[in-house]
Amino acid sequence: MPPDSQQTDRNLTLKDAVLEAMFEEMESDQNVILIGEDVGTAGGVFKQTKGLFKTFGADRVIDTPISESAIFGLAVGAAMAGSRPIIEVMFGDFLTLVMDQLVNQAAKVHYMSAGGFNVPLVLRTGIGVGGNLGPQHSQSLHGWLAHIPGLKVVMPSSASDAKGLFKAAVRDNNPVIFMEDRMTYNLKEQVPEDEHVIPLGSAEVKREGADVSIYAVTRSVHTALAAAEHLQVKNVSAEVVDLRTLAPLDVETIVASVQKTGRALVLDGGYQSFGITSEIAATIGELAFDYLDAPVMRLAAPDVPVPFSPALETMTVPNAEQVVAKVTEMYGGLG
């Protein structure tokens, strides 16, 4: 158990909830190893792996050189040989360096070997805008990864979900990308103490509503929930659907919600063009057209590099007011 979670109060940050999941999975399965930059003695640049090195030692918590491409490649080889590595990639932006090993190797090995080899690993990375880190440390590239058959993509919004999804990711026999928006790291909630595993591919309705469905992942779920409060004042009852995983995508829950509400807004912190909002909007259009009372709307990050300037940076993050405005538009104005 990580030192922080020995308390009886189970009000944990998302970061500590994932850390707890790592402790539990490493404890129960000797095959689970952790590899990455600063993950060992330093305990993670965001202290997100604190205590693991002390507990599990240098053979299971491995500090690496700054070689994203080969670190991940080694993990793929180790996974093929029978281990279950967790690989930390410090910033989601650095996935660009991992892309060949991820897309051309990890994602296809099971297929190319006709099931002969599995690649059970978790690539964990922090994404998103905030902290004025500039264009190379602020991106949300999940749509890119969800595009690739063979990869699973998980994006938790809350501490409890993060723990349950992380445990499922470690136990999954496929390459799983676990992406947390760094702005959610310190969000707290009660996290169940006992065995808590959330199957990958299950969305959750975080707020029930009757008039409009808002779909989102990770940080954007909170934006949607805030917007739903504002909409309530205007007598619009918004349902907030947290997709939780992009691949597999819980199409059933997505469709069921819009069948009930008749209106859909897809919200995302990633780019709009060719992004997940487009994919989900198209899915709704194909499968629930007859239930729609208005065109499906999208609200995503503008197609610009994320600027450093504090005056500009926030403009790249969709906010609750914009959500309210979009929904208002769907009603042709709400007076």
């Binding site: 670190i71 490649g73 080889g77 070997s113």
Partner: protein, 319 residues
């Protein structure tokens, strides 16, 4: 000195690969093996000299010119042919093809379509072998083109740093596609690339299967004893084009003849006969037997069905 049985194993391995590749060439020319097939003919000594120095549970990771490695590590010929001609009984149900052949039963982490892509896979298997103390060794086969890929250097660094049981084997056949390696590569001799990481590095004649076997055996012993990686460069030659269909206008006859005169198969057979290990007649018989076996396997593969529409979407995710 190797036993007669071991010497014959080397001979058999090389002749099998040569015969196999000749069948693949025919299959390609007959339109049965479409796409890009990169033949290993000429380089047999490297795969065979190496894999005969390994245990069956040692790992290899191969590259786009990889049929020879698969054969030398013990894959079944009919299933290899089947994969190369896209049949359902192939190692990947015909969905990988020549450049993507994986065989867990022989601890083969795959041929690979990405130049340099398999280097970290072997290194990662070696990392796990070391962490678990299994005594396994991993071999990373790659072409000279990889001497200029960044992932090689990242992998060498970690292999040296952690003293991993991995043997890096560069098959220098002089060309990357249609370009001479020397024209695009700085830093001579190339073995310096390994030395930069304090990895024991050497260049050996890759047309001499005994030299390859001896060099790799030493490297494998070093790896198994916990003394870390080796970086080996074997000078060799590919007789065929980069892929079947390449007319090789960038090579001249003199060069070709020089390398043919160094062919690893007659080199070994002449030695076997001269040292009275075996009579030429017996070798001829063995050749015929091997060729017959290869042809039977090829014919078996040709009779196999193609994958069906259900196979298109199988194995995208593991259960």
């Amino acid at each position: 000195m190797l036993t007669k049985d071991k010497l014959l194993e080397l001979y058999r391995g090389m002749v099998t690969i040569r015969a196999f590749e000749e069948e693949v060439r025919k299959m390609h020319n007959a339109g049965l093996a479409p796409g890009l097939v990169h033949l290993y003919s000429g380089q047999e000594a490297v795969a065979v000299g190496t894999c005969t120095a390994l245990n069956s549970d040692d790992y290899i990771a191969s590259h786009h010119r990889g049929h020879g490695h698969c054969i030398a590590k013990g894959s079944e010929l009919d299933r290899l042919f089947a994969e190369i001609i896209g049949r359902r009984s192939g190692y990947g149900m015909g969905r990988g093809g020549s450049m993507h052949i994986y065989d867990p039963a022989t601890f083969n982490l795959g041929t690979n379509g990405i130049v340099g892509g398999s280097v970290p896979l072997a290194t990662g298997a070696a990392l796990l072998a070391k962490l678990r103390g299994t005594g396994q060794v991993a071999v990373s086969f790659f072409g000279d083109g990889v001497l200029n890929q960044g992932i090689l250097f990242e992998s060498l660094n970690m292999a040296a740093l952690w003293s991993l049981p991995v043997v890096f084997i560069c098959e220098n056949n002089g060309y990357g596609e249609f370009t001479e390696i020397d024209d695009v590569t700085a830093g001579r001799p190339y073995a310096k690339r390994g030395e930069a990481f304090d990895i024991p590095s050497e260049k050996t004649d890759g047309m001499d299967v005994l030299a390859v076997h001896e060099t790799v055996s030493k490297a494998v012993t070093r790896a198994r004893n916990g003394d870390g990686p080796s970086f080996l460069i074997f000078d060799t030659y590919r007789y065929s084009g980069h892929h079947v269909g390449d007319k090789q206008e960038y090579k001249d006859d003199e060069e070709r003849e020089l390398w043919l005169s160094r062919d690893p198969i007659p080199k070994l057979s002449e030695m076997l006969v001269a040292e009275k290990k075996i009579k030429q007649a017996a070798l001829d018989e063995l050749d015929a037997e091997i060729k017959a076996t290869v042809i039977v396997a090829a014919n078996q593969a040709k009779k196999m069905p193609e994958p069906d529409a259900d196979d298109l979407t199988r194995h995208i995710y593991a259960a």
